[in-house]
């Protein structure tokens, strides 16, 4: 941890000179809190499945180049943001923006806030409907082992509509550590369909925290896909603050070799009459580790909440590990909530049936994995993404293709 405090002290003068005042205003307090808390170890409930300190232990170079964003509708570097973002920045990452920054705030979010040198702002004005999906591509590139601190703020004004797509790629043999924090404000009547896809290498470590504050009558969909990675821990916190809103979280994870994917979600029903749906599906093969922990919190007074949470997992080898932890915490008495999780192995009878029709075992296994994960892909709304993802999953699962053409297996 000391290396990050030293790093902070070293780059602080530069950050204060180069960075936006809204970012600089948050540094001191967040760094002080981070120094107090340190990296979350396994005693921190929400990080019990992932060894954070190990990921942050190597000395990475930190990239401090300012963002260049050209002519992407609705997307701005923070200095060009069309509105004052100070009421939102580093305020969305807690159950309610009026709450003070407290010690419970996630350590990695604190570190991200302390080190963020620039931020992307996606701003969709009131009543405006983004016609095209907004795409943000991150490609990790370069000769050196690098740490990337990525900060994003998404503001959906009243009745704004958008599809936003983030994809992470990685090239070459370098190691990368990504620290990402995305804060989303979805105001009354906003509709957001958000996609995050990771297609990186086994030398990539990704720590992401996504915070979404949801107003009234809003509809939020988040679709997370981990196709290939090294170590990934994705946190998603949704705070339902206005009545009659709906949130859907879909997740598809494919992990093999020694990949590690940990998804930790919180859906916080603070007000009555909201609906939340969660479906996460994992396929783990070889020595991969998959973890899912999803907490649904229905606060006192959040009556007529409807919530469904499902986590289904396929353990395709004896050495793969799945941890699943759905949690319902209900303080209201008129609610409809259900949660469930399954961990299964491949259906031997189905494999044999396919083999009897001439399909080789490996291909039959691929078909079963594909069928399993397709169920959640089909829940995703954006059609061309869905179609493309089916193809990517096909390629990803058929080892022939993977070992023939990609860099991962080198």
């Amino acid at each position: 941890m000391t290396q990050y405090i030293e790093l902070y002290n070293e780059i602080l003068p530069l950050l204060q000179k180069q960075s936006h005042p809204v970012l600089n205003a948050q540094r001191e307090e967040t760094m002080a809190l981070f120094a107090q808390q340190g990296f979350p170890d396994k005693s921190v409930e929400r990080y019990r499945y992932t060894d954070v300190a190990a990921s942050f232990a190597p000395n990475y170079g930190l990239s401090l180049a300012p963002l260049t964003i050209k002519d992407v509708p609705y997307v701005y570097a923070i200095k060009d943001a069309p509105i004052d973002v100070s009421p939102y920045y580093n305020k969305v990452n807690r159950p309610n923006p009026s709450l003070p920054l407290r010690e419970e705030v996630d350590s990695l979010t604190l570190l991200n806030t302390a080190l963020a040198h620039d931020a992307v702002v996606i701003y969709v004005p009131k009543g405006e409907k983004a016609k095209q999906p907004i795409r943000i591509e991150n490609t990790l590139n370069g000769e050196q082992d690098t740490m990337v601190v990525r900060r994003v703020l998404i503001i959906m004004e009243e009745l704004a509509e958008a599809t936003i797509f983030f994809v992470d790629h990685a090239n070459g043999g370098s190691s990368y550590l990504t620290s990402q924090v995305i804060e989303v404000v979805a105001k009354d009547g906003a509709q957001l369909d958000m996609y995050e896809m990771e297609e990186t290498t086994e030398k990539c470590h990704r720590y992401s925290n996504l915070y979404i504050q949801v107003g009234r009558n809003a509809n939020i969909r988040h679709n997370g896909v981990t196709l290939s990675n090294g170590v990934t821990r994705n946190g998603i916190d949704v705070y339902l603050q206005g009545e009659c809103s709906e949130v859907t979280l879909n997740g598809a994870v494919i992990a093999d070799r020694k990949q590690h994917v940990d998804v930790n979600t919180l859906i916080d029903h603070q007000v009555p009459q909201c609906v939340s749906n969660e479906l996460y599906k994992y396929v783990a093969d070889d020595q991969a580790v998959g973890a899912f922990a999803g907490r649904i919190l229905v606060r006192e007074g959040a009556q007529q909440t409807i919530s469904h949470e499902t986590n289904n997992n396929m353990c395709a080898s004896e050495e793969a590990r799945i941890y699943t932890q759905p949690m319902l915490e209900i303080y209201a008495d008129d609610v409809k909530c259900a949660h469930g999780s399954t961990v299964g192995v491949m259906d031997e009878a189905a494999l044999f049936y396919m083999q009897q029709r001439g399909i080789p075992l490996e291909e039959a296994r691929t078909l079963l994995k594909n069928a399993f994960i397709s169920q959640v892909i089909d829940e995703m709304k954006w059609e061309s993404f869905r179609d493309r993802l089916h193809i990517l999953v096909d390629k990803r699962l058929s080892k022939e293709e993977r070992c023939g053409s990609c860099k991962i297996c080198k």
Partner: protein
Amino acid sequence: MLEIKNLHATVGGKEILKGVNLTINDGEIHALMGTNGAGKSTLSNVIVGNPAYEVTEGSITFDGQDLLAMSADERANAGIFMSFQMPVEIPGVSMTNFMKAAVNARRKARGEEPMKAAEFIKLMKEKRQLVEIDQKLMSRSVNEGFSGGEKKRNEIFQMAMLEPTFCILDETDSGLDVDALRIVATGFNKLRTEKTSAMVITHYQRLLDYIKPDIVHVLIDGKIVMTGGPDLAQKIEDEGFDWIKNNA
């Protein structure tokens, strides 16, 4: 030609087959009858290479190839097909994708290119009509939500698509009403060529009214204890197995 010699097999450590000898020549239909638990399904599972069954002794050759040295998919691609007694459901795998994988696996095994999409659709349509199976079922997951009759019809449809030379019909008549039985059986008959041979496992004469066997075997306690002509099936239908057991 399928040739089984002194076949012993166990499942879960228990010996079920205790020395089966059986030769099925090209073009011949053999009926296999026998009491429950006699080993009929074990025999068919061993022939197709179900890994749950262990062969402890004996040999099976098919057209001169050592079947026991081949994996289940290799046996299938050599021309062996089993119509399952209880076809499994495979959620999420559509019939179309499943058949495409199977047809192309066969072509690959023969060193042929994958089938072109248009050609595949045409083939599906042609074979579907042959067994009178509804097109709707093709976009569904394999056997998922199919009625008992639809599942059996689907087995014969797959047989039509894959054109095997040796077929095992494992109690294909169970759970079928008379009309469905007729469609399935006549479907099978239409698919037969001069080379096609089959082993038909059944408890009842009624299937054999449609698929006429050349030879009838009776399997009891892991051994073939009696072999005869088509009239043997009728005699069993009338008198049961006790007289055979008593003789054996």
